[in-house]
């Protein structure tokens, strides 16, 4: 029973947590904005004062900036494409009744429990390494030259490693969606003359739209900030071939020790994330309605 007074009481009761959450969000953001307009270098503490927009213009004029932005978007887009496509396929595969289904599903999920730097190290040293790697051994076994994954295809390798980590997440969410599909719907479609491909196209895929949307939104949030895998494997290289926006910010903050520029990069990242979020919600928000 929502009367006038009970609604007022409800607002009053949630007010403390709303205020706390607002402060929680606004203070770091305000501090970052503040620093982004300051001269704040740890290596030359004697210099301080307002920097104006110079921290920002430095980023925009940096030769790596647009490469960093496009690499960031490439990473997000590439990982999303791989995890969604293979997530749907693997989910359909392990949804089949097979012997050992429980352990099989745990195996499929397990990469998600491996910490990002560990996962990156495993791939770098055990698989992609040009001398010791399994893939190099396989290439030599076939009489080919080992491929220098991280040197020749740095972005593709990073995208692959991150996809390996996030595929289980996508699979898990999509599998639960698949399990809620009524078998009678599929049988009805079968009676209606739909081929297996048509059943997937017209029944299974529309049923999974909402789950796919959820996977895209959640993964985008995390993928925009991917850093550990790049730091562990390519260090943004060779040259700056695999530099992303988060990695540029890291370089300013912890290598150049210029907090002002790093803060400006952070604000640019926030703006980028909001632009991506805007387009995502525009194009897919309607799928989230009941």
């Amino acid at each position: 029973m929502a009367t006038q007074s009970s609604r007022a009481t409800a607002r009053l009761m949630v007010a403390p947590s709303v205020v706390l959450l607002f402060i929680w969000m606004i203070v770091p953001l305000a501090m970052t904005i503040w620093f982004s307009f300051r001269i704040y270098r740890l290596l030359s503490p004697e210099r301080s004062g307002w920097a104006g927009v110079r921290n920002y213009t430095w980023f925009f004029n940096s030769p790596d900036f647009w490469l960093g932005i496009s690499n960031t978007l490439l990473l997000v887009g590439g990982v999303l494409a791989i995890t969604i496509v293979f997530g749907v396929l693997i989910a359909m595969l392990i949804d089949q009744p097979v012997w050992g289904q429980g352990p099989l599903r745990i195996l499929v999920i397990s990469p998600f429990f491996v910490m990002p730097p560990v996962a990156a190290s495993i791939w770098e040293n055990l698989f992609m390494h040009p001398q010791n790697g399994l893939l190099a051994a396989a290439a030599r076994g076939l009489g080919e030259q080992p491929i220098l994954f991280l040197e020749s295809y740095p972005m593709a390798s990073v995208i692959f490693i991150v996809s390996w980590e996030w595929l289980p997440f996508a699979t898990l969410i999509l599998l639960t969606a698949l399990q809620s599909l009524s078998s009678e719907q599929l049988e009805a479609a079968e009676m209606d003359g739909a081929s297996a491909l048509s059943r997937f196209r017209y029944i299974t895929l529309p049923h999974m739209t909402r789950a796919i949307t959820v996977v895209i939104l959640i993964q985008t949030i995390f993928l925009l900030g991917i850093f550990g895998e790049i730091f562990t494997t390519t260090q943004g290289g060779p040259g700056s071939a695999s530099t992303t926006l988060p990695y540029m910010i890291y370089k300013q903050a912890l290598i150049a020790k210029d907090i002002g520029r790093a803060a400006a990069g952070g604000i640019i990242a926030v703006v980028l994330a909001n632009i991506v979020a805007f387009f995502l919600m525009r194009s897919m928000g309607k799928h989230l309605d009941a």
Partner: protein, 333 residues
């Protein structure tokens, strides 16, 4: 057109023989109802005919052609599911047109057919809605519409009314019966409700544990049940089945008397009992009577029977309406 013949059809899931062996002929244009208690295999039998389950052995013929190995879509049958199985993300129109689209029919012709089906089923004003915005009865009609447009050789209904409330169920029962009279297409209808079976069927198939107990018209089954199971299953309220000396006196293991074939008297009769519950329906009165030596018997009297809890009554069976069953449960001539 829609003649369906089952020849020693068997179905096993592992060691469980759901359908030991069934022989059945369904004539073109017949309304056949499979009825039986839950778990009797009636739905499995329907799914075997539909092709949604593989037959373990035996032959299913549709229109004189062996269809045992054909996939469901190639059998020319349409099915209405218990959950309706509508496609939730499609509008009513798209739902109804889906089988036509799958058959590769061009859009204009498919739209025309869908509109015609919608008109028959009073769905015209709902065509652009999604199934989630429809009531149970309307969803049911959409499911039927999706079946009609395919112009199938036979319709299969799998307990289609069990999700509806009592009033709506009565209406839909009538609508499906009328539809059958209009289309004159073979219909196979699965239900556990013997009232639906009695009111709709040309031919009832009573199943128990995967075996056909009896096949016949509703009144044949009512008047001449082949065994004690059919006798107890068909008819509402259930037939009173009695054993002991009264049955032996008739030369049978069990005798059965329907509630409507017991005469009620307050003074004298064959069995003496005490009324435990009297259900007054206005047109009828159902008495549940505790009879010495036989337990509770159900009696159907007219609306004017004025007996209450605790009253003593005497019951006498109408001798020519008594059913006698032998030791194997089969009816004695």
């Amino acid at each position: 057109m829609g003649k369906i013949v089952l020849k020693s059809v068997r179905k096993s899931f592992g060691d469980v023989h759901v359908i030991p062996s069934v022989d059945l002929t369904i004539e073109n244009g017949e309304f056949v109802v499979f009825v039986g208690p839950s778990g009797c295999g009636k739905s499995t039998l329907l799914r075997l005919i539909a092709g949604l389950e593989d037959t373990t052995s035996g032959i299913i013929e549709i229109d004189g052609k062996d269809a045992t190995a054909l996939p469901p879509a190639k059998r020319g049958l349409a099915m209405v599911f218990q959950s309706y199985a509508l496609y939730p993300h499609m509008t009513v129109r798209k739902n109804i047109m889906f089988p036509l689209k799958m058959a590769g029919m061009d859009l204009a012709a498919a739209t025309k057919k869908a509109d015609a089906a919608a008109k028959v089923l009073n769905l015209t004003s709902y065509m652009e809605r999604k199934p989630g915005q429809l009531s149970g009865g309307q969803r049911q009609r959409v499911a039927i519409g999706r079946a009609i447009v395919r112009e199938p050789a036979a319709f299969l209904f799998d307990e289609p009314l069990s999700n509806l409330d009592a009033a709506l169920r009565g209406n839909m029962r009538l609508e499906i019966t009328e539809l059958h009279q209009t289309l004159k297409t073979t219909m196979i209808y699965v239900t556990h409700d013997q009232v639906e079976a009695m009111t709709m069927a040309d031919k009832i198939v009573v199943l128990q544990a995967g075996n056909i107990e009896q096949v016949g018209s509703p009144l044949e089954l009512y008047n001449h049940p082949a065994n004690a199971f059919v006798a107890g299953f068909i008819g509402s309220p259930h037939m009173n089945l009695l054993t002991g000396s009264d049955a032996q006196a008739e030369g049978a293991l069990t005798i059965g008397v329907r509630p409507e074939h017991l005469d009620i008297s307050t003074t004298a009769g064959k069995w003496k009992g005490v009324v435990s519950v009297a259900e007054l329906l206005g047109s009828d009165t159902f008495l549940h009577v505790n009879v010495e030596g036989h337990g509770t018997m159900t009696v159907r009297g007219g609306g004017d029977v004025n007996l209450r809890h605790g009253d003593t009554v005497y019951l006498t069976p109408q001798p020519d309406k008594m059913h006698r069953f032998g030791t194997d449960g089969k009816a004695l001539a």
